[in-house]
């Protein structure tokens, strides 16, 4: 443990952590656009700068480790002025379309500009004018909104292990791109969307069938219904429709998803969904009430059991249903019908 003073208050913190990590643990807010605790510290956005006593130069808190006796100012005049300058520089080269931007309400650049009072970019001059890459089926990339924090590039590389995207060119012309700028559809991208989840601004956005504003959706934490990894994620709900999915942090998926979990949700509210019980009469399905089908099923169970014995009945329970449902299904067959003819597709 080391002793450090932050904004005049003394704290004991673990050694070998950064100033940013210490502040996060102490609930002292520090703005950052490029930091992600799953990635190596990067120090790109400079927004997390802090003032250290005895040092003239401001230091990036995400790359500076705590030292015993260190005195840190996180919101001194100099720090706040510098942050405002950085945000001004970023916003000067950013489309001023927050009114219609899909990211509005969930955008870190917007939040920090609000917090630091940056209303418009004061550096008038050339702005980027790139075409939007919408070649991927699930998300778009608008380089004009990109703040070059590098999170997408690093997530794709360090966490996803795909390395489909990287930086090209230098200086003002720096851009996140696929090899030879061929576009996402022709890259090695596997559409996991982990870059989209990491993007702090509106540069990487999921394609949406149903549009929504960030504040209109309710987020419900759940478990992905595809493979057995059991990724934790949030369903984004507007009205009675699932309109999107976002990954959840923690075990077992550490904020990562795959293409199916992240973008394969539109079956939920699909028009093909079965909405009423059906009974086949003369080879054709007819709509029926629940009471009607329950009565029919119960009479068929009793009939089959009486005529041919309980082992003439069988049930396939489901690896797609919940534990509770599987428990009930096998209980029904064993305890109420009287057979162990219960299995599921574990072998398929």
């Amino acid at each position: 443990m080391v002793r450090i003073t932050i904004n005049g208050v003394e704290y004991q913190v673990e050694d070998d952590i950064t100033i940013l990590e210490a502040c996060n643990r102490l609930d002292i807010p520090i703005p950052t656009l490029c930091h992600d605790e799953r990635l190596n510290p990067y120090g790109a956005c400079r927004l997390c700068l802090v003032e250290l006593k005895g040092k003239n130069k401001l230091e990036a808190s995400c790359t500076t480790k705590v030292r015993d006796g260190m005195e840190v100012e996180t919101h001194s005049d100099k720090v706040v002025r510098t942050r405002r300058e950085i945000l001004d520089l970023l916003f000067s080269n950013h489309p001023e379309d927050c009114l219609t931007c899909e990211k509005s309400g969930d955008c870190k650049l917007q939040d920090y500009c609000y917090e630091y009072g940056v209303e418009k970019g004061s550096y008038l001059g050339e702005k980027r004018d790139y075409s939007i890459d919408d070649s991927n089926h699930f998300y778009t990339y608008d380089p004009n909104k990109c703040i070059l924090c590098g999170k997408c590039v690093r997530v794709c590389d360090q966490l996803q292990g795909t390395s489909a995207i990287g930086f090209e060119n230098r200086g003002f012309k720096t851009k996140v791109s696929t090899p030879f700028d061929m576009g996402l559809a022709k890259s090695t991208c596997v559409s996991c969307g982990n870059c989209v989840a990491a993007c702090p601004v509106g540069a990487l956005l999921p394609k949406r069938k149903i549009r929504y504003r960030a504040w209109e959706v309710k987020k419900v934490k759940t478990t992905c219904s595809y493979c057995g990894v059991g990724c934790q994620m949030y369903l984004l709900v507007k009205g009675n429709q699932v309109v999107g999915v976002e990954p959840a942090e923690g075990k077992p998926n550490n904020g990562l998803l795959c293409v199916k979990g992240r973008f394969g949700y539109s079956f939920i509210n699909h028009t093909d969904r079965l909405k009423t019980p059906l009974i086949k009469r003369n080879g054709k399905f007819e709509e029926a009430s629940w009471e009607e089908v329950y009565d029919l099923i119960v009479s068929k169970i009793k009939e089959s059991k009486a005529k041919y014995g309980p082992n003439s009945l069988a049930g396939l329970t489901s690896a797609r249903c919940t534990n509770e449902e599987n428990y009930l299904f096998q209980k029904m067959f064993r305890a109420l019908i009287g057979t162990n003819n219960v299995d599921h597709c574990a072998r398929l």
């Binding site: 478990t223 329950y294 069988a314 449902e325």
Partner: protein, 527 residues
């Protein structure tokens, strides 16, 4: 899995066999790639040059159906070179001498010949696995969907035991379960031999315990497995079948046989979220709620019991499966009417020792891994920590055996099957997601370019594949992913469904069909 998913990052070596992890368990695949970057060694054995092969220190492109020969070959090398953990073998295993005797014949030369790989690669793989401090084995249906599936799993267990790679953090045997809750469906007694918690129906003590709680006499006769149910239905012995959330008309081997079986029934109920190929054949179809429309729990491949939560109301008149079952059970005389899945979990906990400490309150924030045997139990990150569960690890000496069907002059190629990143199982869900269908629109067969050349087949040609069970037309994809003599098809698609071709022959122990090997004939359509 004996280990946890996060322990992938603790492995010094990984042995991935019969699992195309980056496509079928993509997020575990990303952890594997992260581990490789940190220096973890990787051995991959698969009939296809899958993505992980590109990262492997050794890639063994084995012939389908030769897993045991490969593993026995590796064990042979490990024993011959005294690379095994003698202390662990002495203290924690039995039957080592018998194993030694059987693997003696599996010289790297012989194993290499059976598997169709280089013997030096078998030696290298054995060394990497045995010399690692902590090595993890990862497998999926490339190991199990064979008539020798059970023996293949046993041979992986042998490999892990003789190297002491079990009961440690970052070392173990890790079957990657395919479906979201296949682990839970097994845990809950969705098996003809097992009551919840793997308590056997034929054991009086187990049955009596459930009889006391359920207040009813229970049958002791072991029930039928899926393939047996279908066989008996075709024979007219099974009259009534209730299928909840499954689609055997696409997923099961020999679809012609499945159809005959299902249409021979007196009464078929299908409960699903869509009118599947199987539901089309039903007498009654029940509309179920999707996972977004109900509360409950799924148990993932690392034994973690996790919540799902109701986000929207069920569409139309659909009902959650647990509600449908509760309604029916009450009508069949059940004494309880559950009003929320948490009440069902409370009952599960009372009869299932490994779930005894799991309640909705405890898993509100983060899921718990079973075994979790009391309310303050933290859950179990990895199994066999306090020694092998059965006392001593039983080494099972098993021999390689040919697949039920091997190529001959009439059916000269081996057909193997699998899955794609962009589709899921029988496509009832992913088939309704536009982007996924654009990326993986239709059935295809991967054919090695040399084979294609011999048969005068070009990329994109329509080809007819025929086995002893059926014939389908699909599109050729000429590639080097598969070796000469082997062709691969994904099983997701209804049109050009590979399961018209697959073999129903079962592993005698687990009753799993040999979906990974069939002998097939290939012809260019129109030639």
């Amino acid at each position: 899995m004996t280990n946890s998913i996060e322990e992938v990052l603790d492995n010094d070596a990984m042995f991935v066999i019969g699992s195309n992890t980056t496509e079928n368990h993509p997020v575990i695949g990303t952890f594997m790639k992260q581990a490789i970057r940190r220096g973890t060694k990787l051995i991959v054995a698969d009939p296809r040059r899958i993505e992980l092969a590109d990262y492997a220190d050794v890639f063994l492109q084995i012939k389908p159906g030769t897993n045991i020969a490969l593993i026995n070959g590796m064990i042979h090398v490990i024993i011959e070179n005294k690379l095994y953990d003698r202390d662990f073998v002495d203290k924690h295993t039995e039957n080592f001498e018998e194993l030694k005797k059987v693997v003696k014949d599996y010289t790297p030369e012989l194993a290499a010949e059976i598997c169709g790989v280089d013997k030096e690669d078998i030696i290298k793989a054995a060394r990497i696995y045995a010399e690692a401090e902590r090595a993890g084995i990862y497998y999926a249906m490339g190991i199990t969907q064979h008539t020798t599936g059970t023996h293949s799993v046993m041979s992986l267990s042998n490999l892990s035991l003789i190297c002491g790679n079990i009961g440690k953090e970052g070392a173990g045997i890790n079957p990657l379960r395919g479906q979201n809750n296949v682990q839970g469906a097994c845990d809950m007694g969705g098996l003809p031999t097992d009551l919840p918690g793997y308590q056997k129906v034929f054991k009086d003590e187990a049955r009596e315990k459930f009889e006391r709680v359920w207040k009813v006499k229970l049958p002791s006769k072991v029930g039928l497995t899926v393939p047996e149910i279908l066989d008996e239905a075709e024979k007219g012995k099974i009259k009534f079948l209730y299928i909840m959330g499954e689609n055997p008309m696409v997923s099961d081997p020999d679809i012609n046989h499945v159809k005959k079986a299902l249409t021979s029934l007196d009464f078929l109920i299908v409960q699903d979220i869509f009118l599947t190929e199987t539901a089309e054949l039903a007498d009654v179809v029940l509309p179920a709620a999707s996972f977004a429309e109900k509360d409950g729990t799924f148990t993932n491949t690392e034994r973690r019991v996790q919540r799902i939560r109701k986000a929207i109301e069920p569409v139309g008149a659909a009902k959650a499966d647990w509600q449908i079952l509760t309604d029916l059970m009450v009508r069949l005389g059940h004494d309880k009417k559950y009003s929320h899945p948490s009440e069902i979990m409370d009952e599960i906990r009372s009869v299932t020792p490994s779930y005894r400490g799991i309640s909705y309150d405890r898993i509100e924030v983060e899921g718990i891994q079973w075994p979790c045997t009391y309310m303050k139990h933290p859950g179990t990150k990895y199994l066999h920590r306090e020694g092998i569960a059965r006392g001593k690890g039983l080494l099972m000496a098993v021999d390689h055996r040919d697949s039920a069907e091997v190529p001959d002059s009439e059916y000269p190629f081996i057909l193997t099957t699998g899955r794609l990143l962009y589709q899921y199982h029988t496509r009832t869900m992913t088939g309704r997601v536009d982007g996924l269908n654009k990326l993986a629109p239709e059935s295809f067969v991967e054919i090695n370019d040399a084979t294609a050349n011999k048969l005068n087949i070009s990329n994109g040609d329509k080809v007819r594949l025929t086995t002893r069970r059926g014939s389908i037309i699909t599109t050729a994809r000429v590639t080097e992913i598969v070796d000469e003599g082997v062709v691969f098809m994904p099983f997701h698609y209804t049109e050009g469904a590979v399961n018209y071709l697959t073999n129903t022959k079962l592993d005698e122990h687990a009753k799993i069909p040999e979906l990974k090997v069939a002998a097939v004939k290939i012809e260019k359509v129109g030639s």
